[in-house]
């Protein structure tokens, strides 16, 4: 190990931290603009050129606003709620590889902070921590809307985590690895035909619904349904703590989109071998934004589903499909192995 190794890791951490925060703000702008245009509006266009600085202005506004704590709240839980939500999400970015390896002569740089062998498990474990932040925030606010929001959030997130975890098992079995980088390399063949979205399409649908439910995007935005719950679990939050909740939500969406691109869309691989002159990180970003576009698009179109429909969809539709998918992949692998065919 070279002496400068810790510094490289430190530099990666800083870059990822800044990049993720920046991307969260770009996403907010992208979200508002796209939603606006889909609703025949302009979207933000006053602050800065084409409204590009709107997110920044909002961030500054939220940070300098008074941070109120309700009188009858549980002050300790109220304060640690936002931190409990955002820390696991930022930590989970440590295992996400953003590009293929860069080599500078002899030195090879992995664009991932920690190239661990259980990357996918770490992501799933850390993101399931996030629900504690949501529940604490809603409970500690001592507000009925916050309470309802956090109850819904906990039920929804825990339910969808089950199918989310189930849907990635097929991918893991096909890739023979939990390392996110290896999963991407397992899809490499020169074309998009070997991406796991093609081989694992039902699993992708479940995963996609799962990430929309996890990051509480419409039509699964029951935890913060504006028309019913005002803002759900963060209804009592203001100022910097509200800002942290918002950032956490957007970074959670970004994290899930990154993971979806890695698991199902071949990460940084180009769809055709002929397009491999475009650097991998550009492919990665392009795929991420295509997915984010889809999430916003779906959110702009479909109405919020009812709570019992949410649960029915998960437990009676997605769960059986996920289990069936799991057994089909397992059977297919066993048969292929006994025939001596590689999968």
């Amino acid at each position: 190990m070279e002496w400068y190794y810790p510094f490289i890791v430190l530099a990666k951490v800083v870059i990822v931290l800044i990049g993720v925060s920046l991307a969260a703000y770009i996403n907010v702008y992208f979200f508002r603009k796209e939603l606006g245009r889909m609703q025949s509006r302009m979207g933000p266009n006053r602050v800065g050129p084409e409204g590009l600085l709107q997110s920044l202005a909002d961030a500054v506004k939220m940070l300098i606003k008074e941070d109120t704590i309700p009188a009858d709240s549980d002050r300790l839980l109220f304060k640690i709620g936002p931190a409990l939500l955002i820390i696991p999400i930022f930590v989970a970015f440590a295992v996400v590889p953003f590009s293929n390896d860069w080599s500078f002569g002899q030195t090879v740089l992995h664009p991932v902070i920690s190239n661990t062998n259980v990357g996918l498990l770490i992501v799933l474990a850390l993101t399931s921590m996030g629900v504690y932040g949501v529940v604490m925030g809603g409970w500690a606010s001592n507000n009925k809307y916050g309470m309802m929001g956090s109850l819904r959030a906990s039920a929804q997130m825990i339910s969808y985590e089950v199918t989310l975890g189930l849907s990635v098992i097929g991918v893991v079995m096909l890739a023979h690895s939990l390392n996110l980088g290896d999963i991407v390399e397992g899809q490499a063949s020169g074309t998009f035909a070997t991406w796991y979205i093609v081989r694992q399409f039902p699993a992708f649908i479940i995963f996609f619904a799962g990430i929309m439910a996890e990051s509480a995007r419409p039509p699964f935005d029951l935890p913060e349904a504006e028309s019913e719950l005002v803002a759900g679990y963060h209804v009592e939050y203001s100022g910097a703590r509200f800002f942290i909740y918002q950032t956490a939500e957007w970074s959670a969406m970004l994290l899930w989109v990154c993971v979806a691109v890695i698991l199902f869309f071949g990460g940084w691989l180009p769809p055709f071998g002929a397009l491999s002159f475009i650097p991998g990180w550009l492919w990665f970003i392009a795929k991420c934004y295509a997915l984010i576009f889809t999430i916003i698009w779906v959110g702009a179109t479909w109405p919020r589903i009812r709570y019992d429909e949410l649960m029915t969809l998960n437990w009676k539709v997605f769960l059986p499909i996920g289990i069936a998918n799991f057994f089909i992949v397992a059977a297919w692998k066993t048969i292929a192995a006994s025939l001596g065919v590689g999968v």
Binding site: G36, M38, M42, W297, T301, K316
Partner: protein, 196 residues
């Protein structure tokens, strides 16, 4: 198993996707406006005689009486103690609670107070909303050409069955056969500076 209406869901996605490439219907208000309609009215102003520059107002006080917002004040000074002769001394419009109803213009016997097209009246102080005689006359002088040009087209009076125009207005049959009125396309116009 829940019934999922897949086809309408996909139709909806198409609609939103098409909207993405349609120009937004928003009009960026201060820079971009709809063309003004003939019936649009702004704040009341006072007209004056172009040759002498004197205000047309005869200080009869009718506008003050009819004003439902109580925002007009007409101060007349009797000349030489003769109480039958009234001379306008001060005329104050508190536009902060003017309704733009046009009753004052309708009541005025000499077409002194008329409804102008001035609508950009936002200000940072309530004091900005109070106009005195000189200001109203200056605004009236600026509005005079427009007033002359649109005089016939702009009808502020309520339908009065005793007059020819009132009868015309009241009995005018509504012609709905031509369908909805077409919206004029928005045009960019220079921002009017705050008057006075």
């Amino acid at each position: 198993m829940a019934k999922v209406p897949v086809a309408p869901m996909i139709d909806g996605l198409k609609v939103t996707f098409d909207n993405l490439f349609r120009p937004p219907t928003t009009i960026q208000f201060p820079e971009e406006r709809r063309p003004e309609q003939a019936r649009e009215r702004g704040m009341p102003v006072l007209r004056s005689f172009p040759d002498t520059g004197e205000c047309r107002c005869v200080a009869c006080g009718l506008c003050e009486v009819v004003c439902p917002g109580h925002c007009l004040e007409v101060h007349a000074q009797p000349e030489g103690g003769d109480r039958r002769v009234r001379i306008l001394e001060a005329y104050i419009l508190d536009a902060s609670h003017c309704l733009f109803c046009g009753y004052c213009a309708a009541a005025c016997p000499v077409e002194a107070v008329v409804m102008s097209d001035i609508q950009d009246m936002a200000g940072f102080s309530r004091r900005n909303m109070i106009f005195d005689l000189q200001q109203l006359m200056e605004l009236g002088r600026r509005f005079e050409p427009t007033y002359q040009a649109t005089k016939g087209a702009v009808e502020f009076r309520l339908p009065d069955p005793d007059t020819e125009s009132g009868r015309l207005l009241e009995n005018k049959p509504l012609d709905l056969s031509e369908g909805p009125v077409e919206r004029p396309t928005p045009v960019a116009v220079p921002v009017r500076s705050k008057s006075v």
